[in-house]
């Protein structure tokens, strides 16, 4: 049953083979904003400020087609804001001032959230948006595109949409079976567990046959057993030729499934690289653990004045360096 379901709906591009992916990825330059041979998403100069605070300031980012790219970063790094910006749920402050992003060759600078989804870039949400008072199957069927019955004038005449409705339901059934939600088909989505809602949201996004799926923290609040199956689903999507971009906190998850990792900190893109090597990047370690992470604050020896002074000096020196850097940038 599941074997049959896993059969690809999109023509594979030969990226189901891990070796092929590793070879492809090894050709990428591991610097922030590096170019990719076949980018599906290109982002330039996106800035979002909330008052004086700059939440996102991404100069350039390319996402390679057909692989899993993880977007990681500590809390408050601007990952979700960045997601909102490129999917049209938020508008960059730099809109009209050089902000530019394109998906699959289509410019999205002034596109609404719904048109972005129709272009083939579908997202999920960090806090799941299952439509609680509707059944699981209704949730799924809402995901299908180009429904004749959604036209006000045709909707009253069942004949105009009955056939399409049946096709959509068949497709929804298939996806539900694949995500093991089929027994829940007629239950209200509000009665599902948190993890099942994540699955439902992912399945619903797939109803629209996206080219690229963007998952905002798909593993948050999901138990370990379900995490395994979620990871499996994400990988099988990639193997079918879909591009996946996902935000995640859990490093183990990231290391396990992502082919390429982009790291954000304080709104900027600080590093890019394959999962194995990007973790050892100094910028990433600093962003995640703080530059002084290897100092044991629980150690009583630290309480001596000498060490405290030493630390204070170090911090002051770093600060001065950072200020100088910022000034230099400002002059530029």
């Amino acid at each position: 049953m599941s074997d049959q379901m896993a059969s690809p709906s999109v023509a594979p591009r030969g990226l189901a083979d891990p070796a092929a992916r590793r070879e492809l990825v090894s050709g990428f330059e591991a610097t922030p904003g590096s170019g990719k041979p076949d980018p599906i998403l290109v982002v330039d100069n996106i800035v979002r400020q909330f008052g004086g605070m700059t939440a996102v300031d991404v100069q350039h980012l390319e996402v390679q087609r057909g692989i899993i790219t993880a977007l990681i970063g500590p809390n408050g790094a601007g990952k979700t804001t960045f997601f909102n910006l490129i999917t049209g749920f938020d508008k960059p402050t730099s809109a009209g001032k050089g902000a530019h992003w394109a998906f699959d060759g289509r410019t999205l600078d002034k596109t609404s959230a719904s048109s972005v989804a129709r272009a083939g870039m579908v997202r999920t949400f960090q806090l799941t948006k299952a439509l609680s008072a509707m059944t699981v199957i209704e949730n799924m069927m809402l995901g299908a595109q180009d429904q004749a019955g959604e036209n006000l004038f045709k909707s009253m005449f069942r004949g105009t949409w009955r056939k399409q409705e049946r096709e959509i339901e068949a497709k929804a059934d298939e996806l539900l079976a694949r995500f093991k939600l089929h027994e829940k088909k007629d239950d209200y989505a509000g009665s599902l567990s948190g993890g099942q809602r994540k699955l439902l949201e992912m399945a619903r996004a797939l109803m629209s046959d996206p080219k690229m799926i963007m998952l905002d923290e798909p593993m948050a609040g999901v138990n370990p057993a379900l995490t395994q199956s979620l990871l499996g689903h994400i990988q099988s999507l990639r193997d079918e030729g879909m591009t996946v971009l996902f935000v995640e906190h859990d490093m183990h998850v990231v290391r396990h499934i992502s082919d390429w990792v982009a790291v954000m900190a304080e709104g900027r893109l600080v590093a890019e690289g394959p999962a194995e090597s990007v973790m050892s990047d100094q910028a990433v370690i600093d962003a995640y653990l703080g530059a002084h992470h290897d100092t044991d604050l629980g150690d009583d020896a630290l309480l001596s004045d000498e060490t405290m002074e030493e630390l204070a000096e170090q911090v002051a020196a770093e600060e001065a360096e950072r200020e100088a850097e910022e000034e230099a940038e400002g002059l530029r």
């Binding site: 719904s114 997202r123 809402l142 004749a148 006000l152 909707s155 409705e165």
Partner: protein, 391 residues
């Protein structure tokens, strides 16, 4: 017995009144806004008033009735566009604020002495100015006291036991009907639908014979207006049923649950919300036109309180249900008259005089609305499961 019969007659007259039907049509529109799409429209009375003005003013000034209808609907259409364009992209509360203020603006413009030639200002437009083209369409003849070949006024006269048996049967019919409706799939299959239809027809006939309905005082061809008004209610119910079972209706409910989710699925939420606002508003305009047919166009009779009656009827019957608006409107108006007449009959004048019973009935209605929202938010026909997770 006679007092009880008097009260029941009053309730029946109110329940069957064309104005109850008119409000039911407006509530059907409000159900699309509030029940299915989650749009908080607190200005449904303005849609009604615009429909009524469009119709009455044009017929009064000698235009044909069809043009009058078109103008009434056109006014509501434009009103919905103007209200929706700036507010539907914002959070729901803003639509509520804008609709209630816009409704008041429409009412005050209608009252304004500057427009006396058109709106008749606060006096309104008397029904006799615009009613004739409609009544002349009647095929009920004089239609004063007979419905078709039946003259029913004295069928159960005097015999108490006939009435009691009749009431028991009516109550039984109503209970069975409501239970079947609540269980859903009441009209699935030919047999089910036939049973439902038979129950409804038997119930209505019994009611007619049990409570002779005197003709309305206004020299209007009462049965013709009633017939058209309730026919339109059934037609509107059918249209809403067809609309909400479709993928379009599914979209509406999706928008009610979470707009952003629907947006992320590539649907144009703004356009769907605008369509819902317009459709509901057109139902409101139709309700307004029916509302003024047996009466007159008075801006003050279609103010805030009418909107709140609509909400009470909707919540009583059950928001987001097909028959909720119909049932809610009938129960609401019948119950109000029942309270009023009971208070007038049994409470001595020294405690509560006639004018106070009217006010008392509205107080009870207000308390009832609160109790419904607290203890039975899904209304009579509503689906509790649809609301349970909606915290």
């Amino acid at each position: 017995m006679d007092t009880i019969q008097f009260i029941l007659n009053g309730m029946m007259r109110e329940a069957l009144s064309p104005q109850t039907a008119a409000v039911a049509i407006a509530v059907i529109g409000l159900n699309i806004h509030f029940g299915f799409t989650g749009l908080i429209n607190i200005g449904q009375s303005a849609f009604m008033l615009l429909g009524a003005y469009g119709f009455a003013i044009s017929v009064w000034h000698g235009l044909p009735m069809v043009v009058g209808l078109a103008l009434g609907f056109g006014a509501a259409f434009v009103f919905a566009l103007i209200l929706g364009a700036p507010t539907l992209k914002l959070r729901g509360d803003y639509l509520a604020i804008v609709t209630i203020s816009a409704a008041e603006i429409i009412r005050y413009v209608g009252r304004s002495a500057l427009l006396t030639d058109f709106t008749g200002s606060a006096q309104g437009i008397p029904g006799s100015q615009y009613r004739d083209p409609f009544t002349s369409l009647s095929f009920f003849g004089g239609g004063q006291f007979t419905l078709l070949p039946f003259n029913y006024t004295d069928v159960a006269d005097g015999a108490a036991w006939v009435r009691i048996i009749g009431w028991v049967l009516v109550v039984a019919c109503a209970v069975v009907l409501i239970q079947r409706l609540r269980r859903g799939h009441a009209f699935a299959g030919l047999g089910q639908a036939a049973l439902m239809g038979a129950l409804i027809i038997v119930g209505i006939f019994l009611l007619f014979f049990l409570f002779p309905v005197p003709n309305q005082r206004t020299g209007v061809n009462g049965w013709w207006v009633r017939f058209i008004a309730w026919g339109l209610v059934l037609l509107c119910t059918l249209v809403v049923y067809l609309l909400v079972r479709s993928p379009w209706g599914r979209l509406l409910r999706g928008i009610r649950e979470d707009e952003d989710a629907i947006r992320s699925l590539g649907k144009n939420v703004f356009s769907i919300k605008m369509q819902a606002l317009i459709i509901g508003g057109l139902f409101g305009a139709l309700g307004g036109i029916v509302y003024v047919l047996p009466a007159s166009v008075q801006p003050d009779s279609m103010g805030r309180s009418l909107t709140f009656f609509c909400y009470t009827a909707l919540l009583l019957g059950g928001a987001a249900t097909i028959f909720g608006p119909l049932l809610g409107s009938i129960l609401f108006f019948a119950a109000r008259i029942g309270i009023k007449y009971t208070a007038a009959a049994y409470v001595p004048d020294s405690i509560m005089n006639n004018q106070q019973t009217e006010q008392f009935s509205y107080i009870v209605v207000g308390v009832a609305l609160m109790l419904i929202v607290i203890f039975r938010p899904q209304g009579i026909l509503g689906n509790k499961r649809e609301l349970r997770f909606n915290v």
